[in-house]
Structure formats: C-alpha cells, structure tokens
C-alpha cells in the first residue's frame, strides 16, 4: 500500500540526532553447534530520538530477527553471539547494554523503555480479561502502589489517543474488531511512554483503509509524545512514505542505510535499486518495472564475497572474493552508508553505474 500523502514526517528529525538505541556489531545464530545458521552477522544500526527507522528487505533477510534480538525476545534456538545493544534515554540518560542486563533489569526496562507491537498482535490480548484491565495491569505493574485510579484515567486517555470511545474500556477483546484490537495494542505499547517502539508489521493483518488510519494515528502520536519507532515491513512503498530513515537488509546484513527520500530517489546499492523497481511508483514519472532475478540465498550456504553478487547486475570481479562492509558512498554523503564494492574506490576506481551514482536530483522527479 502507498499512502497518498506523506504523513506526519517530523521535521525535527535532522536536528535532534541523539541516539536512543545503538545496535553495534550484533550477531545472531539459530542453533547451538557448528551447523547453526548465522541469521545476523555484524549488524550495526542506530536509532535517534524522535526518528522513524524503517527496516526493509525480502522475507527471511533478518528484519524481525534483528528487532527481536535487540530486545532479547528471540525464542530458542536463537542465540546472540556478539555485539552490543545500548539504550540511552534521551530524557534522563539512563540505560545500558541490553545484552548484559539481568532478567530483573530487562523486565523493568521492557515496556517502560522499549515497547513492541507484534505482527498480528491483535491476538496478543487475553480473551478472558476486559481490555481496560489489561491496559491498567501494565501501568500498575510499572508504577508505585496505590496507583489504581490514576491507572484507570491513564487507560481512558490512552484509548482516546488511539481513537477508541471511552466506554470500550469494559469490553472484552472479542467484542472489538480487528482494527480496534490493533489500536488497543498500540495504546498498550504507549501506556508507559516508552522511548522506543518496535513495530513488526503492525498492520499486515488489516485492510488498507484501516492500515492507513492506524499508521496516521501512530505518526501523530509519535509527534505528540516524541518516541522513536523501528518499523519493520516488507512493504517498501509504505516505508518511503512513513520513515525518516530506511535500512535495507539482505541475507542477515544491512546493505544500505539512508534517509527515506534518498533511498527512493537515489538508491546506492544494486539490491535497493532492484527492490525499488519491483513496485510501481504512484508519483513522478513512470518507470520500467523489473524484479530481482534469482531468489534470496540459503543462509546455510552463503555465496562467497558479497552475498548479493549472484543476483547483481553490476558484478565486478572482486565481488565474488571480497566482502563489502557498510561504509561511505561514492562522494561520501554524510547521512548515508552502503555495503557495496562499487562504492569502494580501492576496488572500483571508475565511476559508479549511473543509476547508483550521485546525480543531480532534479533529473529524477518532477
């Protein structure tokens, strides 16, 4: 789906560049022995205060794994095999490395600092409790004793925030529609005013109208309450409208990390370019649709060198030998990085292919 107007993109995103969640060299395995699948290798990503960071990529590229590993929610047989995940509050500076926290610290940190809205999370509501009770439970658990009445008021306020009438507080989950339940889950995630909200395809189970309403609401709330969002989806066009910055993942690695507009208008990685050519643009000039030939690699048998080189239209000889690292683009643009040997002057001294290179943006869109 594509939103017809960019909704609630915060103008302040560029000025406030304070990191709240820094993922450094995170590696994740599925399995415990030598046959383990390396689902993530050396992923680094920074989420700044008030920013909407989109994570995009094909199925199985590690988007959800990244989000769940960063919050230590990955179920067995997932194991984090290295890295750091630093949370730093932009309000009072508390925080620490999530990977070294004890269970008690993690539990206290969850929901208060980082909240999650799951894929199909409308099924995360317990069917035997009224939604009001479920909202208040979380608030009271993280608040001092004798907070009951304030919790009720807060729950009412939250429902109002996500556009559900007050009298629904006494409803059971089955009495609400899918969209309303999803809104309740959004409200619940925001109940403790977390600084980071991770949304894992929060609207995939809903129709496009509902999707749009909920996303607009989330973006409005984000501007009002000032939290940061990691938004996971395979819907790149949705991200282009929604996100301030987009990280493109491929085979357990981030291949490109740049502002949403930059990604859309001037992709620097051949995979990003391929993704963008896989769906029709709603604005701007028509362009030829093409897919990406081949299919995502088997994580058990990754190709040598660059993971993308067997499918890449711009392969160099070095691509099958050298592994690209996330680094500056040709021309060293300050706000973006790419993992492609085409942008490495040591490997590719010549100019970058024109569709991946630095071009005057005026040529691109009218």
């Amino acid at each position: 789906m594509t939103l017809t107007t960019p909704i609630g993109r915060s103008a302040a995103s560029a000025s406030a560049r304070q990191p709240v969640l820094e993922i450094r060299n995170l590696s994740v395995d599925y399995g415990y022995d030598d046959r383990a699948v390396h689902a993530l290798s050396d992923v680094s990503l920074t989420l700044h205060a008030g920013e909407v960071l989109g994570l995009a990529g094909e199925s199985g590229c590690g988007k959800s794994t990244l989000a769940y590993a960063a919050t230590r929610l990955l179920p067995p047989p997932g194991v984090i095999t290295g890295g750091e995940v630093l949370f730093t509050s932009s309000r009072d500076g508390h925080g620490g490395d999530l990977l070294t926290m004890s269970d008690a610290e993690l539990r206290a940190q969850r929901w208060r600092d980082t909240a999650i809205v799951f894929q199909g999370s409308m099924n995360s509501l317990n069917p035997v409790y009224k939604i009001g009770k479920q909202l208040m439970d979380g608030i009271t658990a993280h608040s001092p004793r004798g907070f009951r009445e304030q919790a009720r008021l807060r729950a009412l306020e939250l429902l109002e925030m996500v556009g559900i009438p007050n009298d629904r507080l006494g409803s059971y989950p089955h009495q609400l529609s899918g969209g309303m339940r999803q809104r309740v889950m959004v409200a619940m995630a925001l109940a403790l005013e977390p600084e980071v909200v991770i949304m894992d395809e929060p609207t995939t189970a809903l129709d496009v109208v509902m999707q749009r309403q909920i996303l607009e609401q989330i973006m409005r709330l984000k501007n009002e309450l000032g939290f940061s969002v990691i938004f996971i989806t395979h819907d790149v066009s949705l991200l282009l409208e929604l996100a301030d910055r987009i990280a493109i993942m491929y085979a357990g690695k981030i291949v490109e990390d740049a502002g949403a507009d930059e990604v859309y208008r001037m992709p620097r990685h051949p995979y990003t370019a391929g993704l963008l050519h896989s769906f029709p643009p709603l604005h701007g000039p028509r362009r030829e649709l093409g897919g990406i030939p081949g299919s995502p690699p088997d994580l058990m048998k990754l190709p040598s060198g660059c993971n993308f080189h067997p499918r890449c239209p711009h392969t160099l000889e070095a691509c099958s030998v050298l592994e690209p690292k996330l680094g500056p683009t040709e021309g060293a643009e300050p706000t973006r990085s790419v993992a492609c040997l085409l942008h490495d002057p040591a490997v590719n001294p010549g100019p970058v292919p024109v569709e991946l290179g630095v071009r005057p943006p005026s040529k691109e869109t009218a």
Partner: protein
C-alpha cells in the same frame, strides 16, 4: 530419537528397564522359593539371605524378585486399559459436542466422583479369588476418568483450531481428522496420562494387597508389606522386611515420573531441538529461554568473512 539425550529420561528408562527385566526373568533368578519356610527366621541381611528373612524363614529377596512380575503386569495392563478408555471417551466427547458430549461427560463425572479405593475394595471383596488380570481391569475401570476429562478439554480446544477447520474444508473424513489431525497433538497428554495411570495402578494394587483384600498367597510387594505388618515387623525391628518393598515401589514410581519429564520435549517438535541440544547447552552454559534470549560470545566456529 532424542529421548535419551535427556539425562532424567535416561535414568528413568534404565531404572524402569531394570524392573521390567526382573519381572520377566524373576522366577528363574530368585535364589529361593519365596514361599518356602526355612530354618532361619527373622534374620538380618547376610551373605546367605541378602535382604534377610521373614519370621517363618522365607527369603525376602526372592519375594521381592518374584513379586515384581505381579506389580508390573497389573500396572501396565491397567495403564493400557485405562488410557484406551480415556482416549476413546475423552476425544469422542470433545470432538462430537452436543448430546454425545453431554452423556459421555456425565459418565466421566460419575466415575470421577466415585471414590476409587473403597470401590476397588468392594469389587475385589466380592471376588476373593480374583487374579492379577481382574484386578487390573477393576483398577482401569476406576482410573480412566481423570485422563478422559483432560483429553476432552484439550480436544475441545484443538477442534476449533485453524488446521482442523482447514482439514474439514479439504473434505477429510471425521476419522482421519481425529486420528491424523487431532491425536498427534494429544500425544504428550496421552503419554503422561498413561504414566500417571500406571503409577496409580501400581499403588492401588499394592494398597489392595497390603490391606489384605486380594489373595495373600500370590507374591507382590503389597503382599510382602501385608505379612510384614501382620507379623509386627516394625515392633520387632525387622526393617529389612518392609523397607526393600517400599523402596522398590518408590523406585518404580520415580522411574515413571522421570520418563514423564522428557515426554513433552520428545513429542513436541518445537521443544525437540532444544531438548536434543541439552548436553551442548549445558556445556556452553547457555540457558535457552523464551523471552530472555541467551547471549553467548564463546563461539569459535569461523564465520563467513573471517575465513575469507
């Protein structure tokens, strides 16, 4: 497949296997005839009588060994019978719903509230010559209701799941839905129900023999306890008379419980991988838990890129 990777299960299986072997070969390896009255009365354990003798000079070790068969046979037969009844009644009532469910649930509830042991005593009392098989049947008849109750509840939940709806939409016949879609999901409950019933059956049989309701001339651990009690072995300080039989009962119960621990990990494919790697996880000190992903930094296996 990986059941034996679990140390608890392995210990339980070895222990149970030991008793099963004794039950099979017991009469041939017993050093004495368990009923033979000998000259050495009420002797403490000695090289001639490893666990001592009774007040009539019978060899207690022989009684233990010969008595194992009675206990194991009754336990297993009662367990199999009770589990079969509970699966049939429980799954049918859960799957059918409506009047059939009402009738079967009523039946289950009646058997649930019937106090098992007094009923057993009455039934066995009117059949004084009842053999092991009869006792097993009676125990099964009084012991199936709990399992049926649990299975009905789980079946009720399973039959509303999407995969069952999908099977119905694909035109699968009812028997196939029950046996191939629902039953495999019940394996863990059926298996642990079976083990629970076996323990219940063994305890019931031993209890019946101990209070002297069943025939006191066929040997099992309960009969031994009956004679020990009626000869006031405790007062006489003859601990070797009742302690070994009690320990054997406890050991069989323990072995079945240990096996029960591993059944869920074995039957549930989601838990199987973690269970199969239990040794590895222990060695690497990784605690695989839901909600708190372990962090392990000691992998030495080369990653792609490091070996390039």
């Amino acid at each position: 497949m990986s059941l034996v990777h679990n140390r608890k299960v392995l210990a339980g299986m070895i222990l149970l296997g030991f008793f099963v072997v004794i039950a099979i070969i017991g009469p041939w390896i017993a050093p004495y005839d368990p009923s033979m009255v000998g000259p050495d009365s009420l002797q403490a354990p000695s090289p001639a009588h490893w666990v001592g003798t009774t007040n009539t000079g019978q060899d207690i070790l022989s009684q233990l060994i010969v008595g194992t068969r009675g206990v194991m046979v009754v336990g297993l037969i009662a367990g199999i019978l009770a589990t079969t009844i509970s699966v049939i009644v429980g799954v049918t009532s859960g799957f059918l719903g409506g009047l059939g469910d009402e009738v079967l649930s009523l039946l289950t509830n009646v058997f649930l509230v019937v106090p098992a042991l007094p009923l057993l005593i009455i039934i066995v009392g009117v059949m004084p010559s009842a053999g092991g098989l009869t006792i097993a049947v009676v125990i099964a008849l009084t012991g199936w209701a709990w399992g049926a109750r649990v299975l009905r509840a789980q079946t009720l939940s399973l039959r509303k799941r999407d995969f069952v709806e999908a099977a119905r939409a694909n035109g699968e016949p009812m028997w196939r839905i029950i046996f191939f879609e629902i039953m495999p999901n019940l394996t863990a409950i059926i298996a642990s129900g079976f083990i629970g019933t076996v323990v219940f059956a063994i305890l019931s049989e031993v209890t019946l023999a101990f209070i002297g309701v069943t025939s006191i001339s066929t040997w099992n651990w309960g009969t031994m306890l009956f004679w020990a009690q009626s000869s006031q072995s405790l007062v006489q300080g003859a601990w070797w008379w009742f302690v070994p039989a009690g320990l054997c009962i406890a050991a069989v119960g323990t072995s079945l419980t240990l096996i029960n621990f591993g059944i869920d990990e074995f039957v549930n494919p989601r838990l199987r991988n973690t269970a199969a790697n239990a040794g590895l996880l222990r060695r690497k000190k990784i605690r695989a838990r839901i909600g708190f992903t372990p962090v392990y930094r000691g992998f030495t296996s080369t990653r792609k890129g490091e070996d390039a």
